[in-house]
């Protein structure tokens, strides 16, 4: 090694125990767990180590890194894979390459500022993160929202689901080889982002849904903007269907690949499209309705075989369902004020500050020290495009959350990757990662 070689670096990217060891170095029980052939032991049976085909010598297989910087791992996910030629035998995800300490930062910011931190976790659907943080805080505060605020939140979270699934269609098309789908998907997504920019001021990381309602009312003339989006997306979806579903290459890479059974999905706590693709119809919007989802008519899409094609079909039809929900929201969005009128929680409108001293005091108190949330702990979950997005919020009566834990659906869904990829090809691994749709921002928090 030339003197210039950075010897200090060889040690630093190696993650020691977090990495996958070679077959000789792993215990048979551990090896069998990693091979994923036995997920949950029926009681009373003892598995002998020889049941797993461990006779492969170490030099026959190759352990490679589908590492943090890789075009098809949707962010900085590092998969260590043991390959026999092209077949994937074992997989071990190594994560943490985007760990931002958001839960520690969450304890630093007041409830008023909390949304800015939470919204950067799942950057494909930021409004859902803000929604779950706002719902948890409101449950602790015990305040009731005016109907307009509830329906505005539903409008925004459904639009966010459309944009997130369009993004998935784009990157999934790119991963499976259709760059046309990438361009199509982003073109439609720009429509939704333009509406978000008009309503919340920014394309992403909106900080718009806050505890106590929303930051501002919808801009006037928002109905025809949403109308344009819905007509456009509804028409384009048939183009995507036509472009991809009949394609023999697309079918070959998606059908029968990355299959998982209902018991395995439930055992691995997978939620969202992965659980629904196995036939279990579990959608929080239907099962445990929050906001006003029980007054809106929509279908839960359930797959049959639990493979990549099912998840593709589920996401494609979920966009159609979201469009259907949005049309109903368009007609029935009630008038009224868009945030709760409780002086202690929501700051007064800017104009009133000049007139009344009391409004100025409230404004000053909310934005400097923040409002006090009664002591307690609460777990609230909403259905984000990737699954159950939960927020476990513990408050100690002060104006800052004592503990903020976000149950990220991608973090849990990643555990089902090794089971899905086991025995497939490396090319199938790429399609399976894309069908799990992990967002590393919320995986690593």
């Amino acid at each position: 090694m030339t003197p210039d070689s950075p010897t200090t670096f060889t040690r630093e990217t190696a993650e020691g125990a977090q990495e996958m060891a070679s077959r000789a170095a792993t215990a048979p029980a551990e090896l069998q767990r990693e091979v994923g052939s036995v997920l949950r032991l029926p009681e009373g049976t003892v598995v002998d180590a020889s049941d797993v085909d461990v006779e492969r010598g170490d030099d026959e297989t190759m352990i490679i890194n589908m590492g943090p910087q890789h075009p098809s791992t949707h962010g900085v996910l590092r998969l260590m894979m043991e390959l026999d030629g092209e077949t994937v035998l074992r997989t071990k995800p190594v994560i943490g390459y985007l760990h931002t300490g958001m839960e520690k930062t969450g304890e630093e910011l007041t409830f008023q500022q909390g949304a800015t931190n939470v919204t950067r976790m799942d950057y494909l659907s930021p409004l859902n993160n803000e929604l779950v943080f706002a719902l948890a805080t409101e449950q602790l505060l015990g305040i009731e929202l005016p109907p307009r605020a509830v329906w505005i939140r539903m409008l925004l979270s459904e639009l966010q689901r459309v944009s997130s699934h369009l993004m998935w269609m784009a990157t999934n098309g790119m991963d499976v080889g259709s760059t046309t789908m990438m361009i199509f998907g982003f073109r439609e997504r720009e429509l939704v982002l333009a509406f978000f920019e008009k309503t919340t001021g920014v394309r992403m990381n909106h900080n718009f849904i806050r505890p106590g309602g929303t930051a501002a009312d919808l801009p006037d003339g928002w109905e025809d903007d949403v109308e344009v989006i819905l007509d456009n997306v509804a028409v384009r979806l048939d183009d995507y269907d036509e472009l991809l579903t009949g394609q023999p290459i697309f079918r070959e890479r998606m059908e029968g690949v990355g299959a998982i059974s209902a018991e395995e999905a439930l055992a691995l706590s997978a939620t969202g499209p992965i659980l629904r693709s196995t036939g279990v119809s579990w959608d929080l919007r239907r099962a445990m309705p929050y906001l006003a989802y029980d007054q809106v008519d929509f279908d839960v899409i359930v797959g049959t075989y639990g493979d990549n094609f099912d998840r593709y079909a589920i996401r494609l039809n979920e966009i159609r369902e979201s469009v259907r929900i949005l049309r109903q929201v368009l007609e029935r969005l009630p008038a009224g004020d868009y945030r709760v009128q409780d002086k202690k929680v929501t700051p007064p409108p800017r104009a009133r500050i000049d007139e009344s001293m009391e409004a100025l005091i409230h404004h000053f108190k909310i934005f400097t020290e923040g409002y006090k949330v009664p002591e307690g702990e609460v777990y609230v979950a909403v259905e984000s495009p990737r699954g159950e997005l939960g927020c476990y919020l513990v408050s100690d009566g002060s104006s800052k959350p004592y503990r903020l834990h976000i149950r990220a659906p991608s973090f849990v869904n990643l555990q089902s990757l090794p089971v899905m990829m086991h025995g497939g090809l490396v090319a199938d691994a790429v399609a399976t990662i894309s069908s799990v749709d992990p967002v590393m921002g919320e995986v690593d928090r």
Binding site: T10, A14, D59, E60, G279, V302, Y312, A313, L425
Partner: protein
């Protein structure tokens, strides 16, 4: 019929081509050493690229046999092409006989390819593949829509 040039000079174009080849190869070496920025290759540049991870285990020596099978199939067709070149030079003289003769030759090589494929040389298929009964799945046929009336957990699709 083109009158073949007499004697040695019919090989002149081949000689010129040969010299040009050597010149081009030599020139590209000289040019790259002259123009390329003077940089000592650092250890990082010499290390294999593994998605940003510094590899601490040396790459495996033995590769599975499937990769070599692909190479062998390539060699079969490569040799076939080599034989086509001289045939192409004189195929006008040979007329119909030349055509039949090359078709027979190509058929023979193709038979060996069929044997290889039937033996599974190109079959890299994943060990685990859910073979599905229904061939033509569409985005509508593979899903079920659970309306509000059915409770959750019961919507087992057909």
């Amino acid at each position: 019929m083109v009158e073949p040039q007499a004697g040695m000079d019919q090989y002149l174009p081949i000689l010129i081509l040969f010299i040009l080849g050597i010149l081009f190869a030599g020139l590209s070496f000289v040019a790259s050493s002259l123009l390329a920025p003077r940089k000592r290759p650092t250890a990082a540049k010499l290390a294999p690229y593994e998605c940003g991870i510094i590899p601490d285990r040396e790459p495996p020596q033995r590769f599975p046999v499937r990769f070599y099978l692909v190479a062998m199939i390539f060699i079969i067709f490569d040799i076939e092409i080599v034989f086509l070149y001289p045939w192409a030079v004189v195929f006008r003289h040979l007329g119909a006989f030349g055509l039949v003769e090359v078709l027979v030759f190509a058929g023979a090589v193709f038979v060996s390819f069929l044997y290889l494929v039937s033996n599974g040389a190109l079959n890299w298929g994943p060990a685990k593949r859910l073979r599905l009964a229904r061939p033509q799945r569409t985005t509508e046929s593979t899903i079920a829509r659970v309306g509000p009336e059915q409770g959750p957990g019961t919507g087992r699709a057909a």
